[in-house]
Assembly symmetry: C2
Homo-oligomer: 366 residues x 2
């Protein structure tokens, strides 16, 4: 049975999709490596990260550590799996960890899985919901957390807290610092060493133009034996991910897109400019952008009581917005939302965004 995708060649402003759209090279690579265990065609040792053909070893040992400013990287299923593994490695059940209120929900699930108490650094509330990293310090003193986590940026408002300043603060306390870069690494330059963090987790399918599921866990080498304890029975195998390395099509698309991703992070300022311009235009239409202003990321959150008002009378109810946008070849705002919604300007060109603005204008006029 062949499954076709409906939303081909449409304008995509879906926040969870915009950074994970495959490059042309990745598409061509994908079809080569689709079979299960494809990268094991020529496989000498039991170690996926030592495969030389295709050149996985070099990618993992050299290219990715350089890109993320980390000593070592592991390819994993996604950012959440990395967060959970780090928590397991550096905490004991019952420990307290300190995270930001804007965290992804999976941070809390990972803490629950590891029986950890969670203390949140609150955001500034409506309308900007900002995290001031200076607020970590008093909570560090009070709670002596076993781990500190910062979401950079969060997936709701796209707020970019000062990760580097938090690195300076944390360095005084000898507490491991984990940066959740699922929505940053692959879109903008992020360096573990520049930020002075211990761990970084990234998402290939969220921000590195890769097929899911794939992510990267980067870390300082001092954590290697703690994170990746070897089996007592299979001295070659690491326990945490059960001897598993993410590979196959996700791995090969990550590699195929990588040169393009390296290039695109250099153009991040243009992306920010585009997001700011779009936000301003949306505000001109009467929508209110929540989160940081001026904004520093392509993830944008809008409040739009006018659309909510329309939805209450419209024959399609709360799905009217989705349908109107669809009619105009635009998708990515969650069906059913009107009063609040988020979107990303990352994958859309300025021309696409102009079309979106025009569509919103027409919706409001009708």
């Amino acid at each position: 049975m062949i499954y076709k995708r409906q939303n081909k060649n449409k304008i995509n402003i879906n926040p969870i999709q915009a950074g994970g759209i495959l490059t042309q090279d990745a598409k061509k690579t994908l079809i080569e490596w689709g079979d299960g265990y494809s990268v094991c065609d020529i496989w000498y040792s039991g170690k996926i990260d030592k495969i030389e053909n295709p050149q996985i070893r070099k990618f993992i040992d050299e290219a990715l550590p350089k890109f993320l400013g980390s000593d070592i990287v592991r390819i994993i299923g996604g950012a959440r799996e990395g967060i959970c593994a780090i928590m397991r490695a550096v905490t004991k059940p019952g420990d307290t960890i300190l995270i930001d209120e804007n965290k992804h929900y999976t941070t809390v699930l990972a803490a629950e899985k590891n029986d950890l108490k969670v203390i949140e650094v609150p955001n500034s509330g409506h309308p900007q919901y900002k995290i001031d990293v200076k607020d970590y310090e008093k909570l560090i003193k009070k709670h002596k957390p076993a781990l500190i986590l910062l979401t950079y940026p969060d997936g709701n408002y796209g707020n970019m807290p000062d990760a580097k300043k938090l690195g300076e603060i944390v360095s005084k306390y000898n507490i491991p610092y984990l940066l959740n870069a699922a929505y940053s690494a692959g879109r903008l330059p992020v360096s573990l060493s520049a930020i002075n963090a211990d761990f970084i987790v990234t998402s290939g399918h969220k921000s590195m133009a890769s097929s899911e599921p794939i992510g990267i866990l980067g870390f300082r080498k001092k954590w290697k034996d703690i994170l990746f304890k070897k089996s007592s029975f299979y001295p070659d195998k690491e326990i945490e991910f059960l001897g598993h390395y993410q590979k196959g099509a996700p791995m090969m698309t990550l590699m195929a897109s990588f040169p393009y991703v390296v290039k695109r992070v250099k153009n991040w300022e243009e992306q920010v400019e585009k997001a700011r311009w779009f936000s301003a235009e949306m505000e001109n239409l009467g929508f209110k952008q929540l989160g940081e202003k001026p904004h520093n990321h392509d993830l944008l959150f809008f409040e739009s009581p006018q659309l909510y008002k329309i939805s209450q009378k419209h024959k399609d109810g709360r799905f009217f917005l989705y349908k109107e946008l669809k009619k105009n070849g635009i998708y990515g705002i969650k069906p059913g939302l009107t009063k609040y919604f988020k979107l990303s300007t990352f994958a859309a060109s300025k021309q696409d965004l102009q079309k979106i603005l025009k569509t919103f204008e027409e919706i409001l006029r009708k």
Copy 2:
């Protein structure tokens, strides 16, 4: 950067690849759904398993449970992740579990991750390495294990223990019974309810013609709340897999190949016949097949002292076999092996296998 695959259109006898080769439909589906978060094009709720377009919900709620004889299924990263999750759910640290000596190494890693003691039911040793499931009973009585696991078949010898008889034995003791069907479900008919097991784990990329990583965890409904405890903070989200459902291209290729997989398991007897014929022909050439005889699976393990002898004098050393086979368009025996090797007859036609036999014959003659 486009990465091409060298081993296209060659005869593939790689045991870890033979059951995971994509169908034509899966290839066409793969390219549609390669983008990160592709299945979230039209996404109303936060639940991937409720997506109706593409029709993921029906596949998970109806087609797969019927195929595996289970009440409920979850789509996961692979068999090992399922084993680890089940251990976590039904045991406490320090508990003892009972497994077969032929287990996959990841079973032991999962036990280590969960701080479990492992007792093994020994196999019969050289040359058949058979597991007699009757041997579980005395060890059940002695160790009172918290979980019983059977590998069906193992990935080394392709031995098929009597899973149904073990179900009868275990049912007397009220101990959960987990069947590792990574190399069976998708190749041959396997039914959790017929075997009277509690849990089954399968691998899409090993045996269901899917892009990796993907597997299925099937279980009786009484285990649902224990396996998939909800978060205290996000009542909709399950803790074990951190709210994650395997999706994207692996999911869509699993769905695309599924009608073909349903059909192919019905032809399992032909596969067994082909394996037995090939094994007999190899023995005629002087190789010795280890594992069960007559054999009941396409995974075959051979002992071949003659090839080892050649390798000691050959200019390519222990890599000579790999190179000779490669020259003849055959791959899948691990480079460097000569004295013992495993292969699978699953993906190769009888004509392909004839070519392999002829190649071996020539290698021995030279």
